[in-house]
Symmetry: C2
Subunit: 711 residues, 2 copies
């Protein structure tokens, strides 16, 4: 074991010879450290057991199911394509090995290890947190701080600045697996415009490809793609195509041929390209661990950027495997042998399970190999890096192709480190109320692990959404950086206009509200990422006490807002806990009604036709008139709503939204200060944003007295 320290005091313990994952960007300084985790090395695994104190909470674990407080759960880090997000699933697409234990003491832990880790967060025994690392070579990082917020900010610092999308990526996106051709896509676009619903872009699922082949465009269904993209772009509309991890093994297919020629594919034990079956049939997986493969695959995006595409989603990159031919052959053989037998029930279950369990078998990931620094390493050993390195490859490629132009890039699989290269969506959720509730809880957990450009599929991917669920989901997701309504083939359509008139009206207004609030949401995003702070926080990161710790269905957005979405059907409101006095705002109400809510629990009416949020004391929220897309957002008349007890501040960040010039300081700041002075207010505006001409301010005091000001 060797020990190190990072600049911000993070302690590092190195066991054996870990594979360098690139999760941490700060350099390690060798230093003798005493304190370390009590680790038992046994049969090639490392086991850690931490005793809980009674009210310890556990935060973190990013993209996993469960509550904000992770205690009482089982988790597993081993990226997998899990289509059924039910409560007791222990693993999904991500491997986010950062967590904070917070109670009498607060400490953050990051286990930097790219293969399987299992966590029993006080599930089987409520008093212990047991961790099993499937290897002996890894780093652990221990971060101390006065509270969970401080620890989380230190962690964000050491893993490096998160990916920053263009501002248009903050628009509203429609998506569906099943927009089967150009005509269908155009029809969706036109129906949005006809119904006066803002629309920034449309995600293209597998439908656009030729036989599920990466970097191909179906001639039959999407002929003249370049013109099509250009045509839509004229009206400010972006198309965002999908790219899958597996490359179809088909002679004559350019990506396959180049991959073979360039030795870019993962190998099987015999040293030949490893073959598995996914959407296109037999595929090879690019070996994204190799730098030249990263560069090669990244360069392939050119085929689409040349058509005017500026955004992508990388999918199936756990990587998902439907089956290996050998496993299918065995299942078929076993089935054949059972023919005409009078099966007992156990043989029958075996026969059935052979087929049911074909996908993503653990054994597959031991059958293919990466080349890392000239060494051959099984995918199993670095399994959790696959989505990360695919997205890094895309990011490097796009950065070259698009130069100083930002791009939208999200991935399904991820581990910490990938946050610097792209965002994520939360995968294949369902049109369930419980998944709307889950969507609330996952946001701060993802932020904690460095992921900021995040969103769940609004309305739910699988299953049939209805108007009420879509409306309630939007009331949450219009606050998430990534806002995408996406659904699966075979499910009912769930575009905002397919339901009743009331649903159309309400969802239109909600999406417009999103656009009104983009200046604020973008500002909070950029400040969080650049300052290594959280955008979404649990209430317990800012307030203390049992009641606050138990709130799992409210969030803080920035330092200004509290969100409390309705996530059950048939509700005309909900209970909201106010940890301090706040200002309730009915943003879609004709008069934008406000109510001062005193600290405590209140039933808050929250209709389908409204958008509610709660402004913290001495906070200011900026917004503008809605527009049909980000390009047309107009800052000329900036609106502010301020809840002022004595002195309120807001720092509105803005930049060109397109380039990386902000890194060189090319950004705009509007510092706003509103101070109560006797019966009036003193307003200071320090603004270098040339687009803002007028500022209209609505000031509300703790008695709900309203004063309008104009500047």
């Amino acid at each position: 074991m060797k020990t190190y320290e990072l600049n911000n005091g993070t302690k590092v313990f190195k066991y054996g010879h870990p594979i360098e994952t690139g999760a941490i960007v700060q350099s390690k300084i060798e230093k003798e450290l005493k304190e370390e985790l009590d680790i038992l090395f046994e049969k090639g695994h490392a086991k850690i057991s931490i005793k809980f104190l009674p009210n310890d909470m556990v935060y973190g674990f990013g993209g996993n199911l469960g509550g904000i407080n992770r205690r009482g759960r089982l988790y597993e880090s081993y990226c997998t394509d899990e289509p059924l997000h039910i409560e007791d699933k222990t693993k999904l697409y991500s491997a986010h090995n950062f967590f904070i234990i917070s109670g009498k003491e607060t400490k953050g832990y990051f286990i930097d290890f790219p293969s399987r880790i299992k966590y029993d967060v006080g599930y089987y025994n409520e008093n212990y947190f047991n961790i099993e690392i499937y290897g002996e070579d890894f780093y652990t990082y221990i971060i101390e701080g006065k509270d969970a917020k401080e620890v989380s900010e230190k962690f964000l610092e050491i893993i490096g600045r998160s990916y920053i999308p263009p501002k248009w990526a903050f628009g509203y996106f429609q998506s569906r697996w099943g927009y089967e051709d150009k005509g269908k896509v155009r029809k969706v676009y036109e129906t949005f415009r006809k119904n006066d619903i803002p629309l920034e872009g449309i995600f293209l699922d597998l439908d656009y490809m030729e036989n599920f082949k990466d970097f191909t465009i179906s001639e039959e269904r999407f002929s003249g793609f370049e013109d099509f993209v250009e045509d839509l772009k004229k009206d400010g509309l972006y198309l965002v195509p999908i790219i899958d991890a597996g490359v179809k093994a088909e002679e004559g297919y350019h990506v396959y041929e180049e991959g073979i020629a360039g030795d870019h594919f993962c190998k099987n034990e015999a040293g030949d390209p490893y073959e598995a079956v996914v959407w296109p049939g037999k595929v090879h997986f690019p070996d994204f661990m190799k730098e030249d493969t990263q560069l090669w695959f990244g360069s392939k995006y050119k085929i689409l950027t040349d058509c005017g595409i500026e955004g992508f989603w990388n999918d199936m990159n756990e990587p998902a495997i439907f089956y290996e031919q050998k496993a299918l052959d065995e299942a078929i053989q076993y089935a054949h042998e059972q023919k005409d037998k009078n099966l007992d029930v156990f043989s029958y279950f075996k026969l059935k399970d052979n087929f049911t369990n074909l996908a993503n078998k653990d054994s597959y990931y031991k059958n293919f190999y990466h080349e890392i620094d000239g060494k051959t390493v099984s995918n199993d050993e670095v399994h959790n890096l696959y989505g990360y390195y695919m997205t890094k490859s895309a990011n490097l490629g796009l950065s070259k192709l698009l130069k100083n132009k930002r791009f939208l890039l999200i991935s399904r699989a991820s581990s910490i480190g990938m946050h610097r290269y792209g965002g994520i969506w939360t995968g294949d959720n369902s049109s369930w109320w419980s998944h709307l509730e889950q969507n609330i809880k996952i946001l701060p957990s993802l932020n904690l692990c460095g992921f900021f450009n995040i969103g769940g599929d609004t309305g739910g991917f699988g299953g049939n959404c209805n108007g009420e669920l879509l409306t309630r989901w939007l009331q949450l997701s219009i606050f998430t950086p990534l806002l995408r309504n996406h659904s699966a083939i075979g499910s009912n359509n769930q575009e905002p206009y397919v339901f009743s008139k009331e649903v159309l009206k309400n969802t239109r207004n909600l999406i417009k509200a999103r656009y009104s609030l983009i200046p604020y949401i973008y500002s909070e995003y950029m400040k969080a990422v650049n300052n290594y702070t959280l955008m979404f926080k649990p209430l317990s990161f800012e307030f203390k006490g049992t009641l606050v710790e138990e709130v799992e269905d409210q969030l803080l957005l920035g330092d200004q807002l509290m969100l409390a979405p309705v996530y059950r059907s048939n509700q005309r409101g909900r209970y909201v806990y106010f940890p301090e006095d706040m200002l309730e705002v009915s943003f879609l109400d004709r008069d934008m009604a406000t109510t001062v809510r005193k600290k405590g629990i209140h039933y808050v009416e929250y209709g389908l036709e409204d958008l509610k949020f709660f402004i913290r004391k001495n906070s200011i929220i900026p917004y503008v008139k809605p527009s049909k897309n980000v390009k047309e957002l107009d800052l000329t008349d900036l609106q502010l709503i301020a809840y002022v007890d004595d002195e309120a501040f807001y720092k509105l960040y803005d930049d060109d939204g397109k380039s990386y010039d902000f890194i060189e300081g090319k950004s705009y700041l509007t510092n706003i200060k509103i101070a109560k002075k006797a019966e009036d207010y003193k307003i200071n505006i320090d603004n270098n944003n040339p687009y803002i001409k007028n500022i209209n301010i609505k000031i509300i005091d703790s008695n709900n007295n309203i004063i309008h000001k104009e500047i």
Copy 2:
């Protein structure tokens, strides 16, 4: 169409020539009625569309998933063995076609039809309730009343008095699929006794049978069964074996041979006994629609009653079918044909789905036939009656065998009518927090459909339970008539003693509390069943207002208690809405601490070590000292806790708990009245229960002043 009226004013509309299901026991009087449902007959189906008013609520639908308010859901009545109770499943084991629409007007509807019905309760269009009946021959019943409570009581009256179990059936039962032999069962029993946890009996799952054959006992694993039963019974312990619907088709097996000889099995199209595969391999299904088959199958329970058994659970009686041989052969054949092919993804999905979807295919139920009044009717046409008539058969058999001795009988599948013959458990739930929440909501819905002897598998059947979940689940289920902790083979054990010391202590105390409260729970059960009232009610059945209507996680038990269980992990309490002032009782607190809760919303601390309930104003709760089983419950010192504003009443019902003599009036009543008089209380007790010798009363007034009285 013919119209009728029942005694209590229920309107009856008869369409075509319905099959008589026996759901309704009151006789119909022909009467010309005008008002009827607007029904569209189309392609052999009947369609009904009801326009909702904005805040209409929908109650009913018994054993289905979802909320107390059923609006915004899809349902289907077609009994099925659904192992995965996820949110969007539209059908489970039951077909409970009673619902109440309650808003400005309130009306109850019962569709008496034994095959498939689909309900869109405002799901796809929030403004309409659409019903599709898969046939043209059925009755509809319309029940009017001033509110949902009155309508529900009228309905309970017309469907006849619910099944009444013996008092021992209110004890605590341990169960697990996987208590594989006598030794294991004895060990469980001994461990309960050793740990001083009350235990009334142990349910025996498939393990006890010889090769899954009904009415057999494994010689290898349960030899000397009669002595074993007798031995345990000496200590007051009951064994409750399972009986499955399918009879193994095996020559020489007595049930099979008798069934063939007596022509008792459902037929295939060719007129031979229909064959399907379930647990035992190939089985035949008894034709429970035939009276002589009912009598024959019912008489078979003698094999077990002769061993001293007095309780049974009828399972797999939707009936569940793993597969038909033909369907499996076809799946195998298709698989064989795909051998060595380079499958495209759609052929692969077909291959896989052929196996995945083998169970409970709709088509199977059209392949076998019942004989009804000499006519041949496919199972599909009377599908929802199968579990009902199997349980009726068991009830008739056991009534003959056990004479005036009551027996425990529950079934998995059910339709309305069966409630007179047995209770139900809620099927194969999972060890999920959301299923504990679901358990709360299903209780009043089941009562509305006549089912009173009900309970969910405490701790969850599938998946791995932990100590916190088991404890929280018990805090609810110690109030349900059926209290069974049951888990599946392959899951972790979940007996109260397998977790930590704290869990053992807390669960022991909760089970003891159950026994303390049995006099009250039994009294409420018997009064509800005999008076056609609900035992579990939504708050909205007694109180008015938006807040009350939206409460889905609190229940009223009888007229005395409100329950508000904690159903999320990591909670030290929860928000409780009080529709009026109530008395919070910490029943397991050393001093049984009480707090007066004013109308409104309160955060109520509710630890794992406690049992909380809320006594309504002017109500009295009786309890006694706990005992290890019902036989030893001692009423000598009756305890009362009373929350008295002016005058409180309680009518404690009791009887021998064993026989049906109560029908002839052989029961005990203890009428208690406590009236506030100036600074003291006047207590009237009118008691004919000879077991009660002393009454200790704790009176709490609206200022939480406590006075003790002894009588």
